[in-house]
Symmetry: C2
Subunit: 264 residues, 2 copies
């Protein structure tokens, strides 16, 4: 596979999916269903965009494995060979309630290593992407490597469940930082870290498709990504993550170590 | 004073200030100072934009009182007659660290009642405003009155200090809602409520200039604004606020009453 050629092809898919998502916002009759919980939603557009990507992949790369958030595409239990990871709408609750602050993500991994990855900030029409060894970009502008600085010099992003389930730990992190920000889309929170608008994103366990695209881009920029106990991200599993510049990452891991018995 | 004519004049100032703020983001040498705390910042642009507004007001309306966040324009100790309220950059920390997610606000009150108010979402180039009795708008599009629905049907916005200083109360509110969102700009959080992207904004005590512009617009749309003990907003004072649709407001006040001794 020629990676550059494939990435260019996929960028076209991403642009088309983004356009479909923007157009869908003027449709007042989008069907919304609850999954596990009233805040865990799926819409017909989640399924439609995933099917859009799956059809393209199946046609071009019939032997590749596919993992999709809404996926009925067979159980993927390994990262052998080429594996596509799709989150058609990340932040579906925002898509439904805010009509903004959501993204659409697709990444390609090979034997567990990220090859390229796209996060489309749909409403702002900003496509963030990285190709392994070729740097990370927003649209056609190369992103700078994020500098390293301590937790106290930046803002941090958390997920709702972190604030809810780990209030003491959250407080300890926030009080050492300049403040907390919370968008409600793992992909967009990671975009904030990648662009250095927040210094870190710290979470309770997130699904693999929520984090795999962002981790690929973050790694390309020299950011540190690990589980909250500082162990490596586990492929295909749920991961509680810390993604941050190196210095801030270390500061957060130190807080985690000191407070590991809090909020249990 | 012809309110419509004055509002049109002020809209011109708001557009000009917005343009100056957007241009300032490409200036890499903006001087930043800490005020009370490392997260409480003021930049030369806060002072410049406030002075820009003050000069315009002084020239057109020399007898009016002015309250500005960075103000050295005399101590205003009453809301008699016409009082201008200016927050040149609301979310200065975001302006510095993110170059987005901040707004610029100006409102005119007469004898304690809001006459008109502007919140400029500078980066998105969206100007939200209301004129008393004439409705609320985003740019030239009239905003719909927000419908009323229970806390459990929407997202809520909090401020950083709420999460930090009232973790138990925050948790009780968040767990009844669909989730929490946190931008870090009181003006933009109130825009989220005004546009029904979140159902409520709940805070620790905020300065009067942080909330007066948003409250004027929210009131015009039938939203409920009070202190967290359900008493009226106190003019010129710091206010811990709940701004929400009526049903959600009541749900939050009920939680507040039940948990008033928590987090003290």
């Amino acid at each position: 596979m020629d990676i550059a050629v494939t990435a260019k092809l996929v960028r076209g898919w991403v642009e088309e999916a983004g356009q479909l998502l923007r157009e869908s916002l003027s449709n007042t009759s989008i069907v919304v269903e609850e999954k596990s919980h009233p805040s865990d939603l799926v819409t017909e557009m989640d399924r439609f965009i995933e099917a859009f990507y799956v059809e393209k992949i199946r046609k071009e790369f019939p032997t590749h494995q596919i993992i999709g958030e809404e996926g009925s595409y067979g159980e993927v239990d390994n990262m052998d060979g080429y594996v596509w990871i799709i989150d058609p709408i990340d932040g579906t609750l925002n898509y439904v309630k805010q009509k903004r602050n959501f993204c659409s993500m697709i990444a390609l991994y090979k034997d567990g290593v990220g090859i390229f990855s796209f996060i489309n900030d749909v409403i702002n029409e900003d496509i963030y992407y990285a190709i392994k060894g070729k740097g990370a970009y927003c649209n056609d502008k190369q992103l700078e490597n994020v500098t390293t600085y301590p937790l106290g010099k930046g803002l941090v992003a958390l997920n709702t469940k972190m604030v809810m389930l780990k209030p003491t730990l959250s407080k300890k992190i926030i009080q050492e930082a300049l403040g907390v920000r919370l968008i409600g889309s793992a992909g967009l929170e990671m975009v904030q870290v990648i662009t250095n608008r927040v210094s870190a994103y710290v979470t309770t366990p997130l699904n693999f498709w929520d984090v795999a695209p962002g981790i690929m881009i973050a790694s390309e920029l020299g950011l540190k990504c690990s589980r909250t106990d500082n162990s490596p991200i586990k492929m295909l599993e749920k991961n509680p993550i810390v993604i941050a510049n190196e210095n801030t990452h270390q500061d957060i891991i130190n807080i985690m170590k000191k407070t590991s018995n809090i909020d249990v």
